[in-house]
Every structure is written in C-alpha cells, then in structure tokens.
Symmetry: C2
Subunit: 322 residues, 2 copies
C-alpha cells in the first residue's frame, strides 16, 4: 500500500518560487583543504549566511506566506529553541503580521535578542520541565494566532528543502547529502528535494551522540523518546522525532551518523580558521561528520548543509578557545 | 614639477589580468544592520576570503609572476609579519619556484604553519631588536634569491590595488574608500586604482592608535619613525611608512583615521556575530573606523576592505571572548 507523501519535490519548488528575492540564495563554499581532509569534493551550502543566520527562514517564510490576510492580521505563534523563533519573527514582519514566540529560558542571548529585534513578543518556559507544544497551542488558541511549529508542518518542511534544491541546481549531481537532524524538518525537506531530482543520491542525517532520537527511531521502525539531550548543539536537542518528519525520513533517509561534542567543536574551529566562516554547534554537525570520519563510506561528491551561524563570540570562545 | 608616479591605474589593470583565474574574485558583503549602524550604504570587500586568507596574495603573485624563469629556478626571499609570508610561499609554489621567509619569532602560530604548509623555509628573528630588511637582503644576496618585500615594490603595490579595482567594478561609484594601513602597500594600490577610476572619491587609511606612523608622517610631510607599536593589529605594526608607499600615499590619501584596540575587538565581534565572517585584528580596522564613528564625515556610499582573516580560534577567544 502506498500513500501520497506529505511533501513532494513540487512543494519544494513552489516554496522556492515564494522565497525568490526574499530569502538569500546562499553561496556554496569550496575548500581545497577540506577536500583533502575528507577525500572527496565537498560542497558547503552556507545557510549560516541565510537571513536570520539559519535555514529556518526558508520554512517559516513559506508557511507564513500561505496564511490568509485575516490570519496575518491576527498574528502568529510559535515555539523554538532559537533560530526558528527569529525566522518566524522576521517572516511575520516581512508579511505585515506579528509574532509571539515560546522560548526556553536558557536560549542563547544572541538568539533571543535577535527575535525581539524583529519585533516578536517572547514568552519563556523551562526546557527541562515545560511542554512547549502545549504552551504554544494554548497561546495560539487564547489569542487566535496561527501556530507555525518548527518542523511539524508540510509548508515548513517544503521551505527547508529549498536549500538542498539550490545546492543541486548550482553544483549538479551529488553522491551524498549530509544535513543536521534536530526535529527532522531540514533533513525531510532536503531528502524530498534531492531524491526527487536524483535517484542515486544517498541522504545521511547527522545527530549529536547525546541526541540520537532519530537514529534510534529509524532502527526501531517507530518514534523513540530519549532523555532531554544535553549537548552544545542546542538546535538538535530533540527528545523525539516529529511525527510528520519521521514519516518522511523513515522513507527517504538512508542513515544517521553520530558526532561527539568534540567533533562538533573541531568542525566549528575548522570553519573559523580555514573557511573564515562562523557556524553554530548545530550548524556544524554535518561538517563534523565528514571531518571526523563518521561516515560509513566517502563517495566522490558530497554536499553538506552548514545550517546556521548564530553563536555569540563569548560562547564561541568558551567552546573553541581552549 | 611633476614626475611619473611609480604605480598607475594601468599597472593595477595589468596586475588584475595576471591574477585572473589565480586569485579569487572575492565577494562583496552587504548588511542591513551595518548600513543602519554606520548611516551609509557600506560595501565590504572580503579579502579575508582571498587565497592565503588575505589581500597579500594579490601583490605577491603579481610580483613573483614577473620574475625571469632563471630567477624562479633560484628562488625567492621575503620578510613578513605573517600574511605576506604565506602569500609569497603560495605564489612561489604556484609558479614553480621556492621561498625563504624571514619572520618574527612572535608571529601567530597559524600564520607560520600556513607558510610552512605552502612549502616555504622559515628563518626567524626578534621583532624588537632585529632588522628584517637587512636580514632579508643578506639572505637574498647569499643565496641568489629575488627579494619580494611586503610593500616597497611597485608590482606588489599594483597587485594590492586589484581588490579595490574589483570592488568598484562590481558596485560602481563610491564616495569613500577605507582600507587598513600597515606599511602602506594596500592603501597605495587601492588609492591608485580608485582615484584613477573616479575623480571625486575620498581615500582614508586606518591605523591603530599605537601604530600611527603614516598619520604622523602625512602631517609632518615626511616619513616619521615611531616606537615599535604594541597593538593587537600585528599586520599594522610598522614603525615607519615605506619610502615608495609614502611617495604614493602623500599624493593620494586624503586622511588617516585612528582606531583603539577596543574599537578593533568590537569590529571583529560584529563581523563574527552579524556577518558570520572571520577577520583578524589588522583586517578589521577599516570596519572599526566606520563602526566606532572615527570618520570626520560619513558620505552615502562607503567601500571598506576587510583585508585578512588569519586568526586562530584561541587568539580570537582571548581577544573577543570577554
């Protein structure tokens, strides 16, 4: 029995059309040093240079842009550990709406300030005890807001897939695509895009060792809950894959690679010293998997999504200065 | 009485032709946040993304590429506090030659290792007591090497001017160009290029407060020696302007702005957090002058050269992590 997938290549293409002239078409970075280290031609899609500093703007804008004018007038609610918050805030502002974001208390300062800078109202909760989905849903119901979650939404997933779409449009065929996995929206959208374009490509997601919920879930064949991950990759601290994203990922994702906290720090340092570019921990995990030899096979042409660059200098110094 | 200038716009154009396909045509970065902070349209020429991580590759390659085959077979000597060393090392390797570099003992680790990585031989000396020019000249004489100094050379100056040439080709007319001043090669080449292209443009060099030898020299009308500057901007620690570069700069540079050590650190942090790009202290001074309000006037369109990005994560953490 087959069913229609919740997101298709056409949905990603529709999202790309909506994002044209609004999101940045981010550059693809090459490095001879990196190629030599990995033993492959590596193409880095720089979503750390996307608006709001992360791929999240793609999905948020795509979803918000599809709301009816009356809903835009009422406003939007969301919940996020950081980058999706900024993304929804900016998308709301760009489309003449307003946003209320439910955010963990321990969110990095730079991410909170950035969301506020785009005009969002912030409501905080304790990440280790509160339920952000319930809080977000209650808030949306009370105030009549449209809830745009960080990944459990087909328009969000389709938007996230546009980065990988652009990458393949620019560099052509790839043997392997690596992308970080948090809730699973980026990898679901990316896999939808690249497997729609190319039959032979492998898609491997990357999780921090402490946050291996998707790896465990794929192995089990159903969604598995893990303890709240404590990892420097704060954008990948999911306890359980999304229901919608997992339904896509179990079909399209070939494997999950795991990286250690030290692998992540080394990849951030490599990006800083060799590529002169800033990636946050969650944004560096896919690069980390390639640099630290965490892949089962290293094919000739590898695309990697550097998914975000929102980290303040002080935090970078704590993580990578030693 | 007028005399032929040592470097002309045509020389810069010749250098650009030699560099085509060898040096990167580096990107020009824009930032809404930066424009708002400065109160102008600001165009950042990203020479931190140039090969070897600094504009220096342009001048070194231009100069080395003009040597006779017999000289290339004998080899090249140079002296440098860092980025010119890497630049000469790589230019030599690319052109089938070899390089010996005289380098201060306190050169940042990353710069020394990078030059060695390109196959250069390193000879060290004490920056506070030794005379690098004399050491370099003696070495060149002994071994029959061609000496390519970091700025006192018309082909080096012409090569450095190609970054500003590219910038104006890409963005059109500018009212003001800001570039860091160390020995004066970058600003001399840049001023030659942009004043050749546009009559109205102002050219302002930027020095760290402790290394204001060019500012003092322009005020005095002759080259003034200052004590060895102690500044985090290690690429701008010149005690006296070059003779050749000063002869160009006294004619073409309109003013020198000074920046504090704290201005430099703040600009590096701004580049990191807002632009997601890595600039070393010397590479950040021109941006620092604009961000810290060190300019006498702020015209509508400003070009800024981010001249280099060679700093290791540990040093960045020391400078910007607090």
């Amino acid at each position: 029995m087959t069913s229609t997938p919740p997101v298709t290549l056409d949905d990603v293409r529709d999202a790309a059309a909506r994002l044209k002239g609004v999101a940045h078409r981010t550059p693809v970075l090459r490095s001879r040093t990196l190629d030599a280290r990995v033993g492959a031609e590596v193409f880095l899609k720089c979503e750390n240079l996307q608006r709001v500093g992360a791929f999240k703007f793609r999905g948020a804008y795509n979803a918000v842009s599809r709301l009816a004018p009356e809903q835009l007038a009422k406003g939007i609610a969301s919940f996020s550990s950081g980058n999706h918050a900024q993304a929804v805030a900016l998308a709301a502002r760009e489309l003449g709406s307003s946003a209320v974001i439910v955010m963990p208390e321990d969110t990095p300062r730079s991410k909170r300030e950035a969301a506020e800078g785009y005009g969002a109202e912030i409501v905080t909760y304790d990440r280790y005890t509160g339920d952000r989905v319930a809080i977000g849903q209650a808030l949306a119901a009370e105030r009549g807001l449209a809830l745009i979650p960080p990944y459990e939404h087909p328009h969000v997933i389709a938007g996230q897939g546009t980065a990988a779409l652009e990458l393949m449009e620019e560099v052509g065929e790839l043997d392997l695509l690596l992308a970080p996995v948090g809730g699973g929206g980026l990898i679901a959208g990316s896999a939808t895009a690249v497997k729609g374009l190319s039959e032979g490509i492998r898609v491997v997601g990357v999780e921090p060792e402490a946050g291996d919920d998707t790896k465990r879930s794929l192995a089990a064949g159903h969604r598995v809950t893990i303890p709240v991950p404590r990892t420097i990759a704060d954008g990948q601290a999911a306890e359980i894959p999304g229901e919608l994203t997992f339904s896509v990922n179990r079909r399209l994702v070939d494997d999950i690679a795991l990286v250690s906290e030290d692998d992540i720090r080394k990849a951030m340092r490599f990006a800083f010293e060799r590529l002169k570019t800033v990636v946050e921990p969650s944004g560096a995990t896919a690069l980390a998997a390639a640099l630290a030899g965490r892949l089962d096979e290293v094919p000739p042409r590898i695309g990697i999504i550097l998914s975000g660059g929102n980290i303040d200098a002080r935090r970078f110094a704590e993580l990578c200065g030693g």
